[in-house]
């Protein structure tokens, strides 16, 4: 399964261009979509789930063109976890999943089987009798993910699935998504670089509705190599001066001053040592170049 996006433009009724002539190919496997808040990630996902209709451009899913006549065919292949969703507060977790599985057309016995499997995988088994309104934010997020997986979609779209999860839960969800992506396509949107570094081989960076980068995680990380420096300054005032000149990705107090992680094409005229760049550094480097 692959998704082709060609010259896609989405303009809202208020005139804001959310996606601007974007081209992208999403191959099989788990594909990351990275971007700051308001970059256009959710808009793109809403187009892919057929919630939003683009102004121009084409989208195809396994060579099926996104058009009014094909929507039902496309919708059957998709599972979706929106960024914000409130599942039925008066239903128990189990009832909620049974209900949504039924609406999705999953046969009852199959739905129960899958539900057991995913509840186990997301550590929700013991909470199945709790009402949705009694669950914590992280639990609700996990239930949201399970409902998206229930119909075993060929194309899974998850919008910030790890929001509100503790570190252990995050790892569990990331692993679940990686397992699920075998022979399927998973579009994993987030602004947490760490999540993508741990799951994806391919990713795209979106900013102000345009793709700044689309390719492998490895190639993106390469972009920052030789451009990351750890610099030491004596006090806060000096640190502020450095911040005015360079892009700083981290700052911490150490013995005898402050240690700054600086992105710069050339070695800053400070007490510096070069360090290997991380994916986060590369992301900041790519996005700051555009600014």
């Amino acid at each position: 399964m692959s998704i082709q996006i060609k010259d896609l433009t989405v303009i809202f009724k208020n005139g804001v261009t959310a996606i601007n002539h974007a081209d992208l190919e999403i191959p099989n496997g788990i594909f990351g979509l990275l971007g700051e808040n308001g970059a256009g990630k959710t808009t793109l996902m809403r187009v892919l789930t057929t919630v939003l209709k683009p102004v121009s451009g084409t989208v195809t899913l396994d060579k099926i063109l996104y058009s009014e006549g094909n929507y039902e065919k496309i919708q059957r292949k998709i599972g979706y976890l929106p960024q914000e969703i409130e599942l039925y507060p008066n239903l128990t977790l189990q009832e909620c999943l049974e209900y949504m599985g039924d609406l999705a057309g999953v046969p009852k016995a199959e739905c129960r089987k899958r539900m057991e499997y995913y509840l186990e995988k997301t550590s929700l088994v013991e909470h199945r009798k709790k009402k949705m309104k009694q669950l914590s934010g992280g639990m609700k997020r996990r239930v949201g993910l399970v409902q998206a997986l229930l119909n075993e979609p060929e194309f899974l779209i998850v919008d910030e699935p790890t929001t509100g999860l503790d570190p252990e839960e995050r790892i569990r969800i990331r692993n679940l998504l990686v397992d699920f992506s075998e022979n399927r396509t998973v579009l994993f949107s987030t602004h947490v670089v760490e999540d993508l570094a741990a799951t994806c081989n391919q990713l795209a960076i979106i900013q102000k509705g345009s793709f700044l980068y689309a390719g492998s995680v490895k190639d993106l990380a390469e972009k920052a190599q030789g451009k990351i420096w750890i610099c030491k300054v004596s006090d806060e005032e000096k640190a502020r001066e450095v911040e005015c000149q360079y892009r700083i990705t981290s700052k911490q107090y150490v013995e005898g001053g402050l240690q700054l992680r600086v992105i710069s094409e050339r070695m800053p005229e400070l007490e510096c040592v070069p360090v290997p760049g991380t994916l986060e550094d590369a992301y900041i480097y790519v996005t700051s170049q555009e600014r």
Binding site: V51, P82, Q147
Partner: protein, 219 residues
């Protein structure tokens, strides 16, 4: 059915529905038994409007509609219809109970023109069933069309004000939405109010028929 009931009949809705009917039967004065149905019909239309306005729109408010869009239309249609039926059956039970409460609190007397209380109750039951059916379907259709339950309630209120008035009675006559309320109560043989009920049953059925299209375009 159990899950749909839990979704569309939360405790607060049951509570305000019950209180509405109790308060109505306490404060709306009637002298004769043939006035009971008249006292209930129009207020119950308002209750139905408010009660059923969020039948589907709750999915939009909670953003669940973005997932619902991926479900087959047939299942979404069945789910909405199931929800409407559950709410309308509940409202019908309230309407019947309300009829009894008027007898309990107001102790109306039988007017000489009333030949049979059972037939009068049957006529009321029929009229109120159509009223609940129509307003429930209408408010859901308008709310879904505008993707906003207040637009649905507002639109229904406007229609209610027009039809439940002297002007509405003159213009629409026996074809009025509230033809039962405006019937000639002193002439038990007059059944022309059935025209209005038949007409709005048909309109309700047409609204049901176009529901799949509204789900597709506005759901």
């Amino acid at each position: 059915m159990k899950k749909e009931t839990k979704i569309v009949l939360p405790f607060y809705k049951i509570a305000y529905g019950v209180f509405f009917v109790i308060i109505l039967s306490l404060i709306r004065g009637v002298t004769y038994t043939y006035e009971v149905g008249i006292a209930i019909e129009a207020p119950l239309a308002i209750l139905t409007t408010v009660f059923c306005a969020d039948t589907y729109v709750q999915e939009i408010i909670s953003k669940r509609s973005e997932i619902h869009i991926l479900y087959p239309i047939k299942r979404r249609f069945c789910s909405i219809m199931e929800r409407i039926v559950i709410q309308e059956v509940f409202l019908l039970v309230l309407a019947i109970a309300g009829y009894g409460l008027f007898f309990l609190f107001q102790k109306p007397i039988t007017h000489p023109v009333t030949e049979n209380e059972t037939i009068q109750f049957a006529a009321y039951s029929f009229a109120i069933t159509i009223t609940i059916f129509f307003w429930g379907i209408l408010v859901n259709t308008l709310s879904m069309f505008f993707r906003n339950m207040w637009m649905g309630i507002g639109g229904c209120l406007l229609i209610w004000l027009i039809t439940n008035s002297g002007g509405g009675e003159k213009v629409f006559g026996a074809w009025n939405l509230f033809s039962y309320t405006f019937r000639d109560i002193e002439n038990a043989a007059d059944i022309t109010w059935l025209y209005g009920k038949a007409l709005y049953s048909c309109i309700g059925l047409i609204l049901i028929a176009i529901l799949p299209n509204i789900i597709r375009k506005r759901g």
